[in-house]
């Protein structure tokens, strides 16, 4: 068993000494904000000595739309059109967490049918996001066939979302008190069919990407995260699990119906870019299994919205605060919500895993890396800039 991480005194958390840029030994290079290897509009200010990175600084701000400020001036229900836009590949987590937070603060009980439908949505979102990510990591290392496959299957999942919710990306399906509608007729059968195809696709990806010598050679040892980095850097999700730590909110602090499902936390042993890829691949198989379990066991009838909902156009929520979290594809995603008894939220803070993965962790891991591998390193950490800037 791996030892739990500690705040080791030997871990150097200090900032590097400034470089003498007038020495003529260094070249400054900007990676991004628009580049195929960038996982969104974010930019890395790289200082190179030859082709080796000696300093990296993350710059964000290209997607800053002031969501948190915006939400303080909108009513609770108006914010539903806002929250899903915070993380494009996984909007559902924002819908769920915001709903969950205000339901907790307002004392609303969600019917069981809706709880299962929410969990089903979240797990499908995880699968769709992982498929998109697989396209990113393979593309970053020059395997351009895999993105075509995985994005096609992500699109099949988006078709299912469209049929269920009416929208492909911003579903606004999980609403306060429950969900908007139950499963349409025939949806379950279509989903099972697509899952069968996705599973077959993943086996192909195993062969083409994970067994590919070039991919293995380039990703092994790249961006190594050691267990003693996990807590000081706030590393969560697959990046932490790849070090061997069995930390998964779905298991550790089960929400919705995850305590009724049969699954084990997937872990690795050495958190480098290769191991993180393998781990996410295994988590995709796990997603498929969990969706099948849910479809098999979930109630097919019953209320899907709370009966005692207030008039949401004049909704005042008693003063309070809460922090809710869920395991998205990148780890702990959380909403901290403070209410003051008025019709407006007092404060919302969105905690996205990319905040630390793309800044503190990225800046440390990039040093000593070859310029050719920087895009792959960035994708291997699975970062989404919008959730940094909110």
């Amino acid at each position: 068993m791996p030892q739990p991480p500690t705040h080791s005194a030997s871990l150097d958390m200090s900032q590097p000494e400034p470089l003498d840029l007038s020495s003529g030994k260094y070249v400054k290079l900007w990676q991004g904000p628009q580049h195929p290897g960038i996982t969104g509009n974010m930019s890395l200010e790289l200082t190179l000595c030859g082709d080796e990175i000696v300093e990296c600084k993350t710059h964000v701000g290209y997607l800053h739309r002031g969501f948190e400020k915006f939400m303080e001036r909108r009513t609770y229900i108006q914010n539903f059109t806002v929250v899903c836009r915070i993380a494009v590949p996984e909007p559902t987590f924002n819908e769920y967490l915001y709903s969950q937070a205000i339901e907790e603060l307002a004392g609303i009980e969600v019917p069981e049918h809706a709880v299962w439908l929410r969990a089903l949505n979240l797990e499908m979102m995880r699968l769709a996001s992982f498929l998109m990510w697989t396209g990113g990591i393979s593309g970053a290392f020059g395997l351009y066939t895999v993105p075509n496959w995985t994005l096609t299957y992500r699109d099949y999942l988006l078709d299912l979302f469209e049929e269920l919710t009416g929208a492909r990306i911003y579903h606004m399906y999980i609403v306060p008190g429950g969900v908007r509608n139950p499963l349409p007729d025939g949806w379950k059968e279509k989903t099972l069919e697509i899952l069968k195809g996705t599973e077959k696709l993943l086996r192909e990806v195993d062969r083409v990407m994970l067994n590919n010598t070039v991919f293995k050679t380039r990703t092994r040892g790249l961006g190594l995260i050691t267990p003693d980095m996990v807590d000081p850097y706030g590393i969560v999700g697959p990046n932490a699990r790849a070090t061997g730590l069995a930390r998964d909110l779905r298991k550790d602090e089960p929400y919705l119906i995850y305590d009724q499902l049969d699954f084990d936390v997937v872990t690795g042993s050495v958190s480098d870019a290769y191991e993180r890829t393998v781990l996410r691949q295994q988590e995709m198989y796990q997603c498929i299994d969990l969706i099948r379990q849910m479809l098999e066991r979930m109630p097919t009838s019953g209320p899907f919205q709370a009966a005692d909902m207030p008039n949401v156009l004049h909704w005042k929520i008693p003063p309070g605060e809460t922090y809710v979290k869920a395991e998205c594809t990148r780890g702990e995603y959380g909403y901290y919500v403070v209410t003051d008894g008025s019709e407006y939220v007092r404060r919302v803070h969105v905690r996205g895993p990319s905040y630390t993965h793309a800044i503190a962790v990225m800046e440390r891991l990039a040093v000593g890396t070859n310029i050719a591998d920087i895009a792959g390193l960035m994708v291997s950490l699975h970062t989404y800039p919008p959730e940094i800037e909110r």
Binding site: Y323, K325, E332, T356
Partner: protein
Amino acid sequence: MTEQNASKTMLERLTREFQVSDIKQRKPGLTTISVAKDMAETLIRELRDREGYTHLNFMTAIDYIERGYFTIVYMLHNYDTRSTLSVHVNIDRVNASMTSIHTLWAQAWTYQRELRELWGIDFPGSPRIEEDFCLEGWDEIPPMRREFDTVEYCERTFESRDGRETVDPREHMHEVIFPQRGGDN
């Protein structure tokens, strides 16, 4: 000792040693506490090193403009007991400044940089605290402060462009699409 008793004992000790106040259990696994500004860094270090709150979920601020202070929130998590502690520290809005915790967590300086830019709270000694975070060349009041009016700023800063002509669908059908049929029949 059960986890509930252990938590109670810990909170009693923190009250005694750090004058922690306003202890509230918000829900199972989430407790909020308040501590004075000058005790905060020592308390947080204690929680990390002795009580197992090794994970900093995030740091943020709430602007209580009507009361004249900011509340800085440190959300800490203990993976062993699966409990989360929200540590609140109130600081004056005028010349807002707080002790840096960048030596405790490697990602803390990023949060502090954000708090400085968006709320105007200084963290002396925090690395790269002067660098821009989200905003570039910002010379207005920090935008997350309650008195910053986004609409007023936009109207003052950006030119208004004429939008598309608004057409009432019913009238459009009546006058343009089906003039001979008398509208939307």
